[in-house]
């Protein structure tokens, strides 16, 4: 399946992200094997899989944030950046992160520095990449961003410390940071898993709305079929470090080919008209899959 399957949307324009033969291993043990996919402009791709299926490792390697103990081979190319991300140095990588890619992580409660105000943390990423002129301009932009991610009373939020905000509000701040520099690719790693159900739906709507508004491509990682189905056009199913199935979301959900996908579907008890927020709490991990790397 390597490289043979190209998504329809990606074929239209030059891809934003092109991953080819990505293999990640810890020593001699492979954790992710031969993962290839492309994401076209404005395309939304979801990666779904149980814990330890390698989906988080895949997205970390795309962001160049793999742990030092892990080695990655293959190639990861991002539009607007000359080099292969897997072989680029730290200095080059840091010019990509936050500018061409934005990331949203799973745990909003700890994703912000407790000792510094929201305003500073959002302004930081713009000042870092020189996308605004000076602190005053950055602060004005911060207010606009906080408003754009749907936070009420942006001036008050900007002056707040993270502990004064709720989990949902913090995740919106993290979104504001991720989107600050108009990234061409937004990477979301289980962005709603740690949020409670009522907040989940609103954050998903926000991701959907902002990605559309900014024209960013989206790489969305989740273990939750319903969440991926509500946000993405195209999905990859990962199992034991490999992509076992891929295709447009509707096709995969209505006509699953791989046994693991069928099991995921059966466990999720999902039909396409189910609302974005599922009642199903979790996809139980396959015992053979569990106990791998933390996803």
């Amino acid at each position: 399946m390597k490289g043979a399957v190209t998504n329809t949307v990606a074929a239209a324009g030059s891809p934003v992200l092109q991953v080819e033969g990505l293999t990640i291993s810890a020593g001699s043990m492979p954790l992710v094997q031969d993962v290839s996919f492309t994401i076209g402009p404005r395309e939304r791709v979801g990666i779904i899989g149980a814990s330890g299926s390698g989906k988080t490792l895949t997205c970390m390697s795309i962001a160049g944030l793999l742990d030092e103990g892990l080695t990655a081979t293959g190639s990861v190319r991002l539009a607007g950046f000359e080099q292969d991300l897997l072989r680029a140095g730290e200095r080059a990588l840091s010019s990509v992160r936050g500018r061409l890619t934005g990331m949203v992580f799973q745990e909003p409660m700890t994703a912000l520095n407790p000792t510094s105000r929201v305003e500073r943390q959002v302004a930081e990423v713009m000042l870092l990449h020189g996308t605004v002129d000076g602190r005053a301009a950055a602060n004005a932009e911060v207010l606009r961003l906080l408003d754009a991610v749907g936070l009420p009373d942006p001036p008050r939020i900007a002056r707040s410390y993270p502990h004064q905000l709720s989990g949902g509000q913090r995740q919106r701040v993290v979104m504001a940071i991720a989107l600050a520099n108009n990234p061409s690719l937004l990477i979301c790693d289980e962005p709603t898993t740690a949020l409670d159900v009522s907040v989940q739906a609103r954050v998903l709507e926000l991701i959907d709305e902002r990605a559309t508004a900014m024209g960013s491509a989206l790489l969305f990682i989740s273990h939750d079929l319903a969440v991926v189905a509500s946000v993405c056009d195209y999905m990859l199913v990962m199992w034991q470090g490999r992509i076992v199935e891929r295709g447009p979301v509707t096709t995969v959900l209505t006509d699953p080919q791989h046994e693991h996908t069928r099991r995921l579907l059966a466990d999720a008890d999902l039909s396409l008209d189910v609302p974005a927020v599922p009642e199903v709490p979790d996809v139980p991990a396959d015992p053979a899959v569990a106990g791998g790397t933390g996803a």
Partner: protein
């Protein structure tokens, strides 16, 4: 705290538990902090006042009143063997006490904090090397180093305190390194890296503000150690000279006549004990406030 944590699991209406890290800044202060802080405040006040006023000049030797009891000849706490006013010397001695702490802690924190952050951030062989050197360094007694310094550079408060400061560096490295490792595993550092922030910026903007509490705690503990060390060295004649007001020196001068004039040893002894106690109270209180293990989850 455990009850609160489990409570928030059962009842989602409860406010979320205090967030990690921020807790250190918002948690209620241990009353010990205020006790220790007030005593230190008094010592600082005495030191400041002694610059402009002491009951008697520290250089005055009142030959009519040698080793008098408290109150005689207007000397509130009496005089020592040379007729010097004890209260004035205690006040002026607090300057030495504060000075030694500043020198020793300044060196220890100034060198130990950056090395600790580096050792915690660079998880490489270099970090291992720093830690092994630290272990060896830690095994070398501070007082012994002070004795060597006194021999090489001549006995003075500054050389003694430089030695004590250098000997306190490894404890700062250890504390700061462990705090740094904890901060480096947090999501906000991961987020910062995902935003393109690089090592030096992460060190200043994320690591330092989040380990500074640990540094402050370690400072107050080291301060107490430095005060004791100065007293011990001056007592051995390796610190303050005979004309420098110092509590340790006063002990040294008083010990010869301890059976006849015990108060000459009691006053500086009490002053040293109270000062050390104050810094330890402050340190313990602040540790309760900053210790990550005590933070709510």
């Amino acid at each position: 705290m455990a009850e609160q944590a489990s409570g928030s699991l059962i009842d989602p209406a409860l406010p979320p538990a205090t967030p990690v890290g921020a807790a250190g800044l918002r948690r209620k202060m241990n009353p010990l902090v205020y006790v220790g802080g007030s005593i230190i405040g008094l010592i600082v006040l005495a030191a400041l006042v002694s610059f402009v006023w002491t009951p008697f000049p520290t250089s005055l030797t009142d030959t009519d009143n040698l080793a008098t009891l408290p109150g005689v000849g207007g000397h509130l706490l009496g005089t020592d063997l040379y007729g010097r006013d004890i209260l004035s010397w205690l006040m002026a001695g607090s300057r030495t006490t504060l000075y030694v702490g500043v020198v020793a802690v300044g060196i220890a924190a100034g060198v130990g904090t950056p090395l600790g952050i580096l050792a915690g951030m660079l998880r490489t062989r270099w970090s291992e090397f720093v830690m092994r050197v630290t272990d060896i360094w830690l095994a070398f007694p501070g007082l012994l180093m002070a004795l060597i310094f006194a021999t090489v550079f001549g006995p003075s408060i500054t050389s003694a305190m430089t030695a004590i400061g250098i000997a306190s560096v490894p404890s700062f490295i250890r504390v700061v390194r462990s705090g740094t490792i904890r901060v480096m595993t947090t999501d906000y550092v991961l987020s910062a890296r995902a935003s393109g922030m690089r090592g030096p910026a992460i060190a200043f903007k994320h690591v330092l503000p989040n380990v500074i509490g640990l540094v402050i705690v370690q400072c107050s503990v080291s301060y107490a150690v430095a005060i004791l060390a100065e007293a011990a060295l001056s007592y051995l004649g390796l610190g303050a000279g005979p004309t420098t007001p110092s509590w340790g020196r006063m002990l040294y001068d008083g010990q010869a006549v301890i059976s006849i004039h015990p108060m000459l040893v009691v006053w500086p002894g009490v002053a040293i004990a109270v000062a050390v106690l104050a810094f330890n109270l402050l340190g313990d209180g602040l540790r309760d406030r900053f210790d990550p293990r005590l933070e709510g989850r």
